[in-house]
């Protein structure tokens, strides 16, 4: 009960802050820029390793996938950490932790409500990118059927559903970066620190994944999880199931670490 009441107010607080909408607006503009560039430059294509790449100007259900590939690791993670990294640190900036922690809602419920709000923002972000790119692209190229990698013909609506699933799958690895931003927000008490830290974390993991001799561990490292959605189209054969539990472990570790700090921390101004 108290978690949901606190969560409701976390959302209302987000809805009253400019950074929330700045992030969503940036995502929408990025998605729109994708659609516009591709419809203006008739012969421009998208990288061939993106599923259904060749059909991008044949049906509006392909372009959202290209956006998803490009958003990987930078666009969406940076924007979501803009909010997730601020959500605890802002209480330090405003000195409001002491205000909310002396009411009847415990630290656990406050922490959980904030984590839920950060997750919600990640979802809102992906929803924005999906809706803007899908609508723009369907307007440009129509809701036509596509041929999947295994040769199966599917309707445009089916293709759109698959794209929606791909975005949903992308939420798994995104949740990891959101959780890391959230942890850093709790630990550093600085929103800038949390955002920069999350980007460094993402870069470091990419670096680790690129190290030679680590091929055995690769399926369990974060970068691979960002490609998990491609297995919906039969490419790469990444397992969504594996992405689910691998990401769940990363998220659990980050949230537990943050909670260990938040639970015991002294709230004593600056």
């Amino acid at each position: 009960m108290s978690v949901f009441r606190a969560y409701g107010w976390e959302l209302r607080k987000l809805a009253r802050q400019k950074r929330t909408f700045a992030g969503l607006a940036a995502a929408a503009l990025y998605a729109l820029a994708f659609v516009i560039t591709l419809s203006v430059k008739k012969h421009a294509g998208i990288p061939p390793d993106i599923p259904l790449a060749k059909q991008v100007t044949k049906s509006g259900v392909v372009l959202p996938l290209a956006l998803l590939s490009f958003a990987t690791f930078f666009g969406a993670p940076v924007i979501s950490s803009l909010v997730a990294g601020d959500i605890v640190a802002a209480e330090d900036t405003n000195n409001t932790l002491k205000t909310i922690l002396t009411r009847s809602t415990g630290r656990g419920a406050i922490y959980a409500a904030k984590a839920l709000a950060a997750a919600t923002y990640g979802i809102a972000l992906m929803l924005t990118m999906f809706v803007v790119s899908a609508v723009g692209s369907v307007i440009s190229w129509g809701l036509r059927g596509v041929v999947l990698l295994d040769g199966q013909h599917v309707t445009g609506l089916h293709g759109l559903g698959l794209a929606a699933l791909a975005y949903t799958t992308y939420l798994l690895p995104l949740a990891v970066l959101v959780a890391v931003a959230f942890l850093l927000s709790t630990a550093t008490r600085s929103s800038a620190g949390a955002i920069v830290g999350t980007v460094i974390f993402a870069l470091a993991l990419q670096g680790i994944a690129a190290l030679p001799g680590l091929s055995g561990t690769k399926p369990y490292l974060l970068p691979k999880q960002f490609d998990a959605w491609q297995s919906l189209y039969g490419a790469h054969g990444e397992s969504i199931l594996r992405a689910s539990w691998v990401c769940a472990i990363y998220v659990a570790v980050a949230l537990t670490a943050g909670w260990t700090i938040f639970r015991r921390r002294d709230v004593a101004g600056a």
Binding site: K13, K98, I100, L101, T102, S104, T105, I110, D266
Partner: protein, 302 residues
């Protein structure tokens, strides 16, 4: 009487590295008290109140609020409300929204109770404005409203007069003075004795993290409220004698010997001075203002 004490603190300690910000503090606040926690800046008042409200952990001692320990979590604050240092709110929400948020965290906001609390601190007409546009004094009043709306039995106020204008301070005093009748006990911290002198019956004076005095204000006046001023022909000799007759706190200011001691001791000293051949040029009893006293207590303890 089985009534639980609003505040029972024993041997409270908080260290920051080498510094003992709170050093073995005992406090007992009885139901219906308006209890003053007095001390200069840096004395440890806020740190003490933070431990009471469960915001920071303590390094030693016990704290009981109506019999419950705040380290248990917010459950122990059920009948407690208040704030430390300047109350802080979300600047991008209005005053009323901030209170609604806090009401939700209290388990459900009663909109009428919120407006009643705003009314009591005379903030109703600005309740729809963003807190970011509030003055320090208005935020202070919003802090008081946010505490009152919890209908607490113990109200903890940390330097609540900060940022208030004289009229605001007067209103605050009237508001606080009326609280005991409504069943509210108040723990009121301040660095100014004058601010609490009229409303507090009991005070604790803290300095450097330690209690320099704890008790009724009139006891404070009676026991430390006056001092003897002695001018002797040989001030140093007089000081030595004063120490010898059992007044160790006697001290010299210039050539004037000050003595906090009961009158029989002063009688004895004057006889001894005569015997030692030290002439007394003047001996007078001087009333100290509480302000003076407060300074004495908080300066000497160090």
């Amino acid at each position: 009487m089985s009534e639980l004490l609003p505040v029972e603190v024993r041997g409270l300690v908080k260290r920051y590295g080498e510094l003992a910000a709170v050093d073995d503090v005992d406090l007992t606040v009885e139901p219906g008290d308006i209890y003053g926690l007095l001390g200069p800046n840096g004395a440890g008042k806020t740190t003490t109140l933070r431990m009471l409200l469960g915001l920071i952990r303590r390094d030693g001692g016990t704290v009981k609020l109506f019999g419950r320990d705040p380290v248990e979590g917010v459950g122990a604050l059920e009948d407690v409300a208040g704030f430390v240092e300047s109350p802080a709110f979300y600047p991008y929400l209005t005053g009323r929204e901030n209170l609604r948020l806090l009401g939700a965290l209290d388990g459900g906001a009663d909109l009428r109770a919120i407006d009643a609390a705003l009314e009591r601190v005379d903030l109703l007409d600005r309740a729809g404005d963003r807190v970011g546009t509030y003055s320090l004094g208005m935020r202070q009043r919003l802090g008081i409203a946010s505490s009152l709306m919890r209908s607490p039995k113990l109200l903890v106020l940390d330097e609540p007069a900060n940022g208030l204008d004289p009229a605001g301070i007067r209103d605050l005093r009237t508001l606080v003075a009326a609280l005991p009748e409504q069943g509210v006990t108040v723990l009121y911290s301040s660095h100014l004795l004058a601010e609490v002198e009229e409303v507090c019956k009991r005070v604790a004076i803290v300095n450097d993290g330690k209690i320099a005095f704890e008790g009724r204000l009139d006891e404070l006046r009676a026991s430390y409220g006056s001092a003897y001023r002695i001018e002797a022909a040989d001030p140093t000799g007089a000081l030595e004698l004063a120490h010898r007759v059992g007044a160790p706190q006697a001290r010299l200011e210039g050539h004037v010997l000050w003595l906090d001691a009961p009158s029989d001791l002063v009688d004895q000293l004057s006889i001894e001075l005569g015997r030692a051949g030290i002439a007394i040029r003047q001996l007078a009893r001087e009333q100290r203002s509480l302000e003076d006293l407060f300074f004495r207590l908080t300066e000497d303890a160090a």
